[in-house]
């Protein structure tokens, strides 16, 4: 980077906490900028997921043309699928892709000696990416909504909860993606782990098919695992499929898993550092 904006001469604040915050903020901004620099690649990636969303919309339009199923009619399903699409586009691949490459090539050794926390650093970078990911995904969803004849507005009763739930998607997805990125320390393979993660998440988060369509045991399992919170919960809150105490519980499950995954990742990182072998010098 030829960034001339680094204020080398400015005295660093005495408080290390402030200093770290500044570092994280800069990492987030750099991440966003690097995504913008490779915009074409990113946009083709977005196009790929837009095609996937398109096929889901068409498929469900045919399924629901003969009447509603499991309480979903076509307008509700449209809203559900599009919210799930946007949720699924967040923290989609850059975070673990970068981590995996650095782990496999041993560059992670440099990250170990940096005076910032590794996990917070990746969190900050993901936050940078997510700004762009969310922006483009919402734009794609709006276009899709126009093509398919509009989408109802969010359910007014659960609007507040929807916002909270939508915000919780970020730490939740970050947790899962980060943990699967750390798995590379043990597997040394990234492509397979990533494909498996994406497949599991798309099914159990309800991104393709609302969880009520699944058998009872799968539905219950995904509701209490971190998966439902990654797409199903915000999408249901938007489309009016979650009310009352069930809605509050679902959002609480999102919050609890965000925290649990964060600490699980910490434990894994501690284990990974003991296991790390970097060749060469």
């Amino acid at each position: 980077m030829t960034s001339a904006t680094v204020p080398a001469a400015a005295p660093l604040p005495a408080d290390t906490r402030m200093r770290r915050l500044r570092a994280y903020r800069r990492m987030a901004r750099t991440a966003l900028r690097s995504l913008m620099a490779y915009q074409t690649s990113f946009l083709f990636g977005m196009l790929a997921s837009a095609f996937a969303a398109l096929s889901m919309l068409y498929l469900w339009r045919s399924v629901l043309s003969s009447g509603s199923r499991h309480g979903f009619d076509w307008p509700q399903m449209k809203a559900y699928l599009l919210v799930a699409f946007v949720a699924g586009s967040l923290v989609s691949s850059y975070t673990d892709y970068r981590m995996a490459n650095r782990i496999r090539q041993g560059d992670v050794a440099l990250d170990l000696v940096r005076p910032v926390d590794y996990q917070w650093g990746r969190f900050a970078e993901s936050l940078g990416f997510v700004v762009y990911e969310a922006g483009t995904a919402v734009a794609v969803a709006l276009v899709a909504a126009l093509i398919f004849g509009g989408v109802p507005l969010p359910d007014p009763h659960t609007w507040g909860l929807f916002v909270v739930s939508a915000l919780l998607v970020f730490p939740l997805r970050f947790g899962i993606v980060y943990v699967s990125g750390l798995l590379v320390f043990w597997t040394q393979n990234y492509v397979g782990v990533q494909a498996a993660r994406i497949a599991l998440i798309t099914l159990f988060s309800g991104a393709l098919v609302p969880l009520v369509f699944l058998p009872e045991w799968m539905r219950v399992a995904s509701a209490y695992l971190p998966f439902a919170g990654m797409a199903s919960t915000p999408a249901l809150l938007y489309s009016g499929g979650l009310h009352g105490s069930a809605a509050t519980t679902a959002v609480a499950v999102q919050g609890v898993w965000s925290v649990v995954l964060w600490w699980l990742a910490r434990a894994m990182w501690a284990g990974a550092c003991r296991k790390l072998t970097v060749h060469g010098g």
Binding site: Y38, T40, S41, F42, F44, G45, L47, A48, S49, F51, A52, L54, S55, Y58, L59, R61, S62, V63, S66, R69, H70, T187, Q188, N189, V191, G192, V193, A195, A196, I198, A199, L200, T202, L203, L208, V209, F213, L214, P215
Partner: protein, 266 residues
């Protein structure tokens, strides 16, 4: 003829070398194979979940759709096993590694196609084969030697369509100067639309995957030919011709790209 035999023999040697290299990383092999089974298996669970609530979609029943889906998985498996190299083109072309290929006495397009063996191919092939078997034994069709031969021919042709289109879309590497194959990946993703009966789509989408990039010929039309359903059946019988066309187009565009290739670096 002898020339062709030599080319095929060399291609097999090329792939064989990559298989041996690949199998050196045994854990990788298992992770990739299992993840392929998981990914495609989840796709079937998804279909099954939908058909739990509705008996047929646009006249297609569960096992009919599984047949379409299985054809995609098998075509994917075959293309990944025998021609995964297409996906390396973005790197090969844009990081200047193509030069080495050009000086060898073997067609560059075959060198590129044979430059990698996808480890997930076997998983795809095993699961796809199982699905194909299950679907063909459940669909409402009388099996005889003729239909069986037709099915085998169509499965191989479907893989040809996929390989041709993979090569064609990855040739974008010659024009888009980027070491990432994201353009081809997005087109691959368009091809995934062919996992469902294409009658569910709007006209524009149907034209796109039938006439522009004929991904529908790797699954929907061959399935229709096997199931003898409607006008699509006659198009389905054209699958071998479409496969030849796609492969020819891929090679032609590759040659064209090669003619404007200027290498990179010093």
């Amino acid at each position: 003829m002898a020339e062709l035999r030599r080319k095929l023999w060399l291609y097999r040697r090329l792939l064989g070398a990559h298989v041996r290299a690949t199998l050196e990383y045994e854990a990788d092999f298992w992770i990739m194979s299992l993840s392929a089974v998981l990914v495609q298996g989840i796709g079937v669970v998804f279909l099954w979940a939908i058909f739990r609530s509705i008996p047929r979609i646009n006249g297609w029943q569960f096992w009919d759709v599984v047949l379409i889906y299985a054809l995609v998985v098998v075509a994917e498996g075959l293309s990944v096993l025998f021609a995964q190299g297409a996906w390396t083109m973005a790197v090969t072309v844009n990081l200047g590694q193509l030069d080495a290929l050009l000086v060898r006495p073997y067609p560059p397009v075959l060198q590129v196609l044979g430059s990698q063996v996808g480890m997930n191919g076997l998983g795809n092939l095993v699961l796809g084969g199982a699905l194909l078997f299950a679907a063909t034994s459940h669909v409402d069709v009388v099996w005889n030697a003729g239909r069986l031969a037709l099915t085998v021919l169509l499965v191989i042709s479907a893989a040809g369509v996929k390989v041709g289109l993979n090569l064609l879309t990855n040739c974008a590497a010659f024009w888009l100067r980027s070491p990432y194959s994201m353009f081809a990946f997005s087109m691959h993703s368009l091809g995934e639309l062919a996992r469902f009966p294409i009658t569910i789509y709007g006209l524009v989408v149907r034209i796109a995957i039938t006439a522009v990039l004929p991904y529908a010929f790797m699954s929907y039309f061959p399935a229709a030919a096997v199931l003898s359903a409607g006008t699509a059946r006659w198009l389905g019988l054209l699958t071998p011709a479409v496969a030849v066309y796609c492969l020819w187009l891929g090679v032609a565009v590759f040659r064209h790209g090669l003619s404007r290739y200027e290498s990179s670096g010093n």
